[in-house]
Amino acid sequence: MRIQTLYIDQTVADLPLCSAIAERLGLTPKRVESPETVYHLISAASDPVAAGKRTLLLTRNKGAFVRPCPGTSYYTCCNYMILHIGTFCVMDCAYCILQSYFHPPMLQYYVNQAEMMAALDTVFAERGIRRIGTGEFTDSLIWESIDPISEKLIHKFAAQEQTILEIKSKSVHINHLLGLAHNRKTIMAWSLNTESVVAGQERGTSSLDARLRAASRCQAHGYPLAFHFDPLIIYPGCENDYLAVLDRLFNTVDPSGIVWISLGSFRFMPDLKPIIESRFPVSKIIYGEFIKGMDGKMRYFKPLRMRLYKRLAAYIQRHAPAVTAYFCMEDDEAWEHAFGFTPAEKGGLPAMLDRAAIQHCGLRD
């Protein structure tokens, strides 16, 4: 992490975790009365997104630690739950929706972890299978160098039987996680993309090879795996490039240990476009053929994304037929066209993923 300035919300300043993080970062923290002080500083920067990636605020999560993924009604959502450990990311992907999602975008790490653990206890005490991930509002593994939160969570989840934790990342900070007694209740997941997208659109992320090697090492230590082809970027030759990534994936890890693979094409709120134009002037990703989707997000023209989906789905079904492949936020037409069925025919997408989790992770309701 290349944090240059560390702020601590004075309401959590006395927590031992704050001083430990400051020591690991080698920074003298500045105390602030409220997060708003830091928000104003970030907002006033010429590039608030870049400023937000260099400035870390240790604070309290005043809202819910466990909350539903913000899906929309028209497209099929998987009913994923998010464990809200922090916000934003030190990596810098051109397509990252977090650039316009937070106002302003800012690295926040929630140090009131006792409350987070209590929130998890509440979830664990409820009946029913659940899938919870830490990689929605941030990257799951970027915090490990300042606080091994994944390690703590892996232990926590290993001690129960009905909820899985998905750690989702584009980095490979996994050495300290390999020997843990995870009890198969943690799925190690990576976002994958083509070599050209990784090289051109994902600043500061681990290489595709590194991600695949990390996945292989995790698999060797018994971790269930998952992969997310999201966002799929459409460009000339992208289909063969994505098939090549799938090929490398299935040659690097044993498909029988993959819980799920998700596919989702690039989609974004319209206000992300000027940010990408300004911050990534060489990037062409926003000049694809986008239309405004039913959720107000810009999406590739449907026939274009269905064409790509169909080829990738066919490849996965042929080379890893037992793997649960699914779409993140697509409608029945896309499902029918690419997979030959709709989620409703399989009991719904949440049920499909729950079954995959039960099978691979030994969950019990």
């Binding site: 028209y74 134009e277 062409k284 000049y287 053929e289 239309i291 405004k292 989707g293 039913m294 999406r299 023209f301 449907k302 026939p303 274009l304 269905m306 064409r307 169909k310 409608d331 029945d332 037409e333 066209h337």
Partner: protein, 328 residues
């Protein structure tokens, strides 16, 4: 501010000093006739600047009209020589703004002249209210940018062909492209939304293809549209928009074309409107009937009942167009 009325010889008025000039109107014909017939109703404001020389504060055209009429002296209202520059400029602006609405260039000129007196846009905006103007901080900032535009774009603004928003958009482009688009808009006269659309499409195409917008405007396709003598202004506008849309969205354009061909082949009467969802994103299609009598309604129902047997209808609903392999 106290002024004195006096008669001043026209030869003593410095017509080159435009420090207080706000108006962009240059034509004198109506004014000359009016003064010749009725006389000079409102004497101009002048200020004594140098020895035996006066500067015009307000009334540049009136002074010029009187000269054109061959007058040797005119009645004026003289400002005190020690009046502060801001108070004199304020009078110049207010005298214009109280008679009529200032056009965009006059507003920009006003902001440019006032800017040196105010450290921030917000203070300038607040002061503008005293002059009968209602600028806000954002407008002040935008008007300042108007002054940096090239002459051809400013000319288009003067002729009323460009809005502030579009003019500033053109100012962000390469100079050659901005000027070419200003000329294009003046020729084919798109609406404001169409101008925005054309700017956006051109910018995206240029970025996607690593080309200059000015090069895109010089392509053979654009020339074939713009120099086609058989096209009316509206036809040129339609073809320019269509060309840019196809270039920016080639797949979507082909899909739309295939849909339209099949829809037309259904031979539906104009009273039955058959539409796809915007962008073909949702699966739904819609049919809207227009009728006045029960007979008309019954006829349309009969037409609709035949649709499922029509292969073009099937092609549309299942999106199986002639080149479906390349589209899906």
């Amino acid at each position: 501010m106290i002024t004195n009325t006096a008669f001043i010889r026209l030869a003593q008025i410095d017509l080159q000093d435009r420090a207080f000039k706000i108006s962009t109107e240059q034509s004198l014909s109506g004014l000359v006739t009016s003064i010749a017939e009725i006389g000079l109703i409102h004497p101009p404001f002048l200020i004594h600047r140098k020895a035996s020389s006066y500067s015009i504060v307000s009334g540049f055209r009136r002074v010029q009209a009187c000269r054109d009429l061959g007058w040797s002296e005119i009645p004026v209202r003289l400002l005190p020589a020690d009046a502060s520059p801001l108070s004199v400029l304020s009078l110049a602006v207010a005298d214009n703004a109280q008679h009529r609405e200032l056009n965009l260039l006059e507003q920009a000129r006003t902001v440019e002249k006032l800017a040196s007196f105010f450290p921030s846009d917000i203070e300038l905006a607040a002061y503008s209210g005293c002059l009968g103007l209602s600028f806000n901080q954002e407008l002040v900032s935008r008007l300042k940018r108007i002054n940096q535009l090239s002459s051809p774009i400013l000319d288009c603004i003067r002729r009323g062909c460009l809005s502030l928003t579009i003019a500033l958009e053109l100012g962000k482009l390469e100079v050659k492209a901005g000027e070419a688009l200003a000329r294009l808009f003046e020729e084919i006269r798109p609406t404001l939304n169409q101008q925005k659309e054309i700017c956006s499409l051109l910018r995206d195409i240029a970025c996607a293809e690593d080309r200059l917008i000015s090069d895109l405007l010089e392509t053979g396709e654009m020339h074939a549209i713009l120099f086609n003598k058989d096209y009316s202004r509206q036809q040129k506008l339609k073809h320019v928009r269509s060309f840019l849309h196809k270039r920016r969205y080639p797949w979507m354009s082909r899909f739309e074309k295939a849909f339209e061909e099949n829809r037309r082949a259904l031979m539906l009467p104009h009273t039955i409107a058959f539409k796809a969802a915007p962008g073909f994103e949702a699966q739904e299609f819609s049919i809207c009937l227009s009728f006045q009598t029960v007979t008309e309604f019954a006829d349309q129902i009969q037409t609709l009942e035949r649709l499922p047997d029509n292969p073009h209808f099937d092609a549309i609903i299942n999106k199986r167009f002639a080149d479906s392999d390349s589209l899906y």
